[in-house]
């Protein structure tokens, strides 16, 4: 009991303690703000990637694709843990706007999808500008639904001159050329034109928030993409299957089940035409599939944490110095305490509790200040932009909306715990020194 009383007393009476509290509060505030924003951006980015591909992905990186996907889709549709499945064609194409400056063409990635299915598996519907409510109409140009439509990634659309409403963009026509490939990966139609070309008409724009998808991807109707890529005969092929599990099904567990299903499916099909293509197919969860994009941002978050850790070492030094000073001044008090029977452990516990109180108080103050600042961070940025033209992230360069400002409980807890540990670490050596003080020496008449 006396330990807590003395710890509180030292906290309130020793003004030098305020500096330790100030230093730790400052560090906690900065770390809370930066880590909340970083974590928010990383989570947003992960969520966008998750929305882009669903929960589980089956497929191959090869442009040749794999056959018998329709049979496997039927099997998956019958599973009680699968919500929806979407077959995807992915390839590269050359696009050219007819009627525009001669010779202007661009290499893009094409994604052939069945919009209705795809909208159930991914967040595709929510990314569209005009057909959010009914994603099945994504490839139906408003001016003539019978024409074959295309959906442009937002940034690609801007480069193609698709701006403003339907009125200005409605007549955009693209010629899309692809290399048709045989199941062996060789060029189909050898000796002829080597490429397939078809005309598509603008029907919608997709803003997924992913730079690569929005900057260089166009979406085409699945059957048309299959034709362009030569994947419609003799056995129909697809590049990927995106799968969404039903609510409550864990992604890793769901992917394992799908993996087992696929293994059995491949065994049943062995010996059939083009069945060797099935061996190159992998089953992975969305995180593994998108790891090339997600891993770097997670790594940056770790690096930032390590750098803050290094700077936080200074805070340890401050706590050390403050406690060193306090113990230096309170050596007589400690001598008195020990002379009336307080043990070494008890003395050490006293100062550790004191350090704990500093850490706790500073964490609350720092986290509260950080929470308040984060509440207003977007308004502050808006004000700075309005008066000084300053924006933390230029929105014309970065695909960011509002700055994330919701402090997660996990982040706050980790920061608070780290602050307390830092205070305890800084106070450890002085506390041990205080515990070892000899009352005979400290209470000697010449010392008093």
């Amino acid at each position: 009991m006396h330990e807590i009383i003395l710890a509180v007393r030292y906290l309130l009476r020793r003004r030098i303690t305020y500096f330790a509290v100030l230093a730790v509060t400052l560090c906690v505030f900065i770390v809370a703000v930066v880590m909340t924003v970083m974590t928010g951006l990383v989570n947003e980015f992960k969520q966008k990637n998750h929305n882009f591909v669903g929960d589980c992905v089956i497929g191959t990186e090869s442009l040749v694709g794999f056959p018998y996907y329709e049979d496997f889709v039927k099997i998956l549709d019958g599973c009680d843990y699968v919500g929806a499945v979407s077959p995807i064609i992915k390839s590269y194409a050359l696009i050219s706007q007819t009627g525009i400056e001669t010779g202007r063409n661009e290499g893009v990635e094409i994604m052939g999808i069945e919009p209705g299915r795809h909208g159930k598996v991914t967040g595709f519907g929510g990314t569209l500008s005009y057909n959010k409510e009914d994603v099945s109409k994504a490839f139906k140009p408003a001016y003539d639904p019978n024409l074959a439509g295309f959906v442009a990634g937002a940034e690609l659309g801007r480069r193609l001159g698709i701006q403003g409403g339907y009125g200005t963009a409605g007549t955009k026509v693209l010629a899309v050329s692809c290399f048709p490939l045989t199941a062996k990966g060789t060029l189909a139609r050898a000796g002829t034109d080597l490429v397939n070309t078809k005309t598509f008409y603008y029907s919608d724009t997709s803003q997924s928030g992913l730079v690569y998808a929005d900057g260089s991807m166009i979406y085409l109707p699945f059957e048309q993409a299959q034709l362009l890529c030569g994947m419609n005969e003799p056995v129909k092929r697809t590049s990927w299957l995106y799968i969404k599990f039903k609510p409550g099904v864990k992604v890793v567990a769901g992917c394992e089940k799908v993996s087992l299903l696929w293994r059995d499916f491949v065994k049943e099909r062995s010996g059939q035409t083009q069945a060797d293509l099935l061996d190159k197919v992998t089953v992975q969860n969305w995180k593994n599939y998108r790891r090339a994009f997600i891993a770097p941002v997670e790594k940056e978050q770790v690096m930032m944490t390590v750098m803050f850790g290094l700077v936080g070492i200074t805070t340890v030094f401050i706590i050390f110095v403050v406690f060193y000073m306090i113990i230096g001044h309170k050596s007589k008090d400690i001598g008195v305490l020990k002379s009336i029977g307080v043990s070494n452990m008890s003395v050490m516990r006293l100062f550790c509790e004191f350090a704990f109180l500093i850490g706790l108080l500073s964490s609350f103050a720092g986290l509260f200040g950080g929470w308040l600042f984060l509440l207003e961070i977007n308004k502050i940025e808006g004000w700075l932009f309005k008066h000084f033209g300053f924006q933390l992230w230029d929105r014309t360069i970065y695909a960011i909306g509002d700055i994330p400002n919701r402090m997660g409980f996990g982040v706050a807890a980790v920061i608070a715990l780290s602050a307390i540990i830092v205070c305890l670490a800084g106070a450890f050596l002085p506390s041990r020194q205080a515990a070892k003080l000899n009352p005979v020496e400290t209470l000697r008449v010449s010392q008093i």
């Binding site: 330790a20 050219s96 990966g185 290094l310 401050i318 110095v321 300053f390």
Partner: protein, 446 residues
């Protein structure tokens, strides 16, 4: 002399002062490393732009003929050393079974290009050979040769992020198919039709510039061959851009003005262009073209340094605490010094000077640490990869194969000055307390 003596004494007796050195050194080192890496990246980014497209770029709104005459007129200017023409296209490169890549096609004159920028040094096969680079295919005269970026042919190793150059060089001599396209005008007034064009060419050399995006997506063909593919119905030469190397020591603004004068004269007399087209031609330096991105990078650097700087302010508090403790425990010393005739200002200057010393010594140590870490950052990154299996720097993310490792001395000086000022500020209040010491009260015998 007395000050020096007292400083050394406090250092000997109060070993806790070394903590303040450590805190200042740590903060300074971190800030120098962050500033140097960011500045190094920005400089590398600007340098890569110059190495890619020259000092100055003339980009008319549409392609134009008779570019050799324009280049000749440009090279007559004192401020221009060399110029070369470029034609652009986009296409799909078929490399083999199921292997199709979207590529950017540059039609170039390799010999001229080597004089405008250091193009020969990025060619794996020809960089060690005498003479100018060319598209000639070894042992296959008459074949159309092309250069292909190494990233088009292969991916860097997942763990080391390095290309297998020997494997890449084996691809030279291979024939590949490029599909591009153009709109062919049928009759006057009628809408043109998009026509696919395929070009079979032989890989004459591999390009490795160290800039991920250009190695990943670029192929180079002879400008004339590309012109025949893209604009088959036109006679004569065509270019989309002129890339210029300025003479050493040339004034950039003056050079830009001169180049614009030559362009306006050429476009109106030789091409018969109207004033709108002439004015729409962009003539700017490579750095100006990257200025928006560079400004964004600098802003991010500023924000990061500000954040770390604020956190490093805790070093000021540390110095305050330590000096306050020294003043409180050395009150008798101070009282004796004052009783011997030292003024308050003199006493204060002892502690302020000591604070400045802490700042100077701490900054020196921090600068040394920052220098060593920055210079060896690639080695450090390699060791982290070997020990933890974590590849921090990837060219596909950060653009360059190697982390730029030049120390930014301008920023380092600024950081050191700030650190010394911060240390002095930390020592200020304890110095004032020391100056206000009253010898009568301190030395009273009780």
């Amino acid at each position: 002399m007395l000050k020096l003596f007292l400083w050394l004494r406090y250092l000997q007796k109060k070993k806790i002062v070394f903590l303040s050195f450590a805190a200042v050194a740590l903060s300074v080192a971190l800030l120098i490393v962050v500033a140097s890496l960011f500045t190094g990246f920005i400089n590398a980014f600007e340098r890569s732009a110059v190495e890619m497209i020259g000092d100055v770029v003339v980009s008319p709104p549409t392609r134009f003929p008779k570019y050799p005459q324009f280049i000749e007129q440009l090279e007559r200017l004192n401020s221009v050393k060399k110029a070369t023409a470029v034609l652009f296209g986009q296409g799909l490169l078929h490399l083999g079974k199921g292997d199709v890549r979207a590529v950017e096609i540059w039609g170039i004159e390799p010999a001229r290009r080597a004089e405008v920028m250091d193009f020969k040094s990025v060619l794996l096969r020809q960089k060690g050979l005498p003479g100018q680079p060319s598209f000639e295919v070894q042992g296959q005269p008459g074949k159309i040769g092309g250069f292909v970026g190494i990233g088009v042919l292969a991916e860097p190793n997942e763990k080391t992020d390095e290309y297998d150059f020997k494997e890449a060089e084996k691809m030279t001599g291979r024939q590949v198919v490029l599909t591009t396209g153009t709109v062919i005008e049928n009759k006057e007034g009628q809408q043109g039709q998009f026509k696919r064009k395929t070009v079979e060419f032989t890989i004459a050399d591999i390009v490795y510039s160290g800039v991920y995006y250009s190695d990943k997506a670029f192929i180079y063909l002879p400008i004339e061959e590309l012109r025949k593919v893209l604009y088959p119905n036109e006679d004569g030469q065509a270019a989309k851009q002129i890339q210029i190397k300025l003479a050493d020591g040339a004034n950039v603004d003056a050079a830009l003005a001169q180049i614009r004068g030559v362009w306006e004269d050429f476009a109106s007399r030789q091409l018969g262009w109207d004033s709108y087209l002439i004015r729409s031609t962009s003539i700017e330096t490579a750095k100006q073209m990257q200025s928006q991105l560079v400004a964004e990078f600098r802003k991010q650097m500023g924000v990061l340094l500000l954040i770390f700087g604020i956190v490093s302010l805790s070093a000021v508090l540390l110095i305050f605490c330590i000096f306050y403790m020294i003043v409180m425990t050395r009150q008798k010393d101070i009282a004796i010094i004052k009783s011997c005739g030292a003024g308050s200002g003199s006493v204060a200057s002892i502690f302020i000077g000591f604070g400045a010393c802490v700042g100077v010594i701490g900054s020196a140590i921090g600068t040394a640490i920052g220098y060593v870490i920055t210079k060896n950052i690639n080695v450090v990154e390699q060791w982290i990869r070997i020990i933890f299996g974590l590849k921090i720097w990837k060219s596909s993310i950060y653009m360059f194969s190697r982390i730029p490792n030049e120390v930014d001395w301008a920023s380092a000086k600024f950081i050191v000055v700030l650190a010394v000022i911060a240390a002095v500020v930390g020592a200020l209040i304890p110095a004032i307390v020391a100056a206000k010491t009253r010898p009568v009260e301190i030395l009273r015998y009780e």
